[in-house]
């Protein structure tokens, strides 16, 4: 088999470095946790913020939903 110093170098470098696997794993978990938290907060408050902006612009929040509800009130008529 042909010698490949690049493969040997990879092994040498991995032995030299003191990898903090658990630190990185914890970092990943906290990053993902933070993203999930932010997205759930967004999911919770984003519609309300949109309603607020609509109200500030002079419209009435949730009007679309109300109209739809009224439309479905008597489906056969």
């Amino acid at each position: 088999m042909r010698k490949n110093s690049f493969k040997e170098l990879e092994e040498v470098e991995l032995e030299e470095i003191s990898m903090k696997t658990e630190n990185i794993r914890n970092g990943i978990s906290s990053d993902i946790g933070m993203m999930r938290y932010v997205s759930s907060v967004m999911e919770l408050y984003f519609p309300k913020i949109i309603d607020l902006l609509v109200a500030l612009a002079g419209g009435s929040p949730g009007q679309g939903d109300e109209t739809k509800r009224n439309q479905n009130k008597y489906p056969d008529m």
């Binding site: 690049f6 170098l9 470098e13 991995l14 470095i17 003191s18």
Partner: protein, 212 residues
Amino acid sequence: MRVDYEHQLNLIDLIINLLNPVISGAASKSISDEEAIEAYLETQNTNYFNILYDRYSRKVFGKCYSLLKSEARAEDAAQEIFVKVLLNLSKFSGKSKFSTWLYSITYNFCIDTIRKSKKNIGVLVDDIGRYGDVVEDEIEDSEIIETNVYRLKEVLNILPSGDKAILLMKYQDEFSIKEICKIIDKSESAVKMKIKRAKEKFLRKYKELYTS
């Protein structure tokens, strides 16, 4: 009845939680990367992601360290790469091996990081597109890969990062030209030219260091 049902569900949850490390330990030995990805996407169980992490974190960290030349920067980079991978797992189509996909993200991330910190990283990211026809590569691979490992390290460390990266892709990861094309998003002729130039630079630097 309802209380009993909930009680049973709690018990099942408890058993699953207790068995999780056992499941992941056994699974890590038997399941393939693709199966782990599929299982993670279906269940969102992080144990499946941990299997992939345990398999590849050392290599990813090693590549980051080799290119970024700092343990702290490599640690940050490895973390960001795995977060990126986790968020994009659903986009992995399985056309290439998972390791190829992961290493391509690693190389691109490191090259971007270096590009942000300094401009001169070699031909890889600047005017590679202007090279047309491929010139025959006269340097034998053996001249490069049979170098003494400590000398190899010295010479690679003084090469521009772009050249170092492409040599690592070709000789350490043994990527095909087509795979390298996909990783750095360049044409086949541009990649061949880049490899040829990196090899020339390598030998020039080697001679400067060791034949005077």
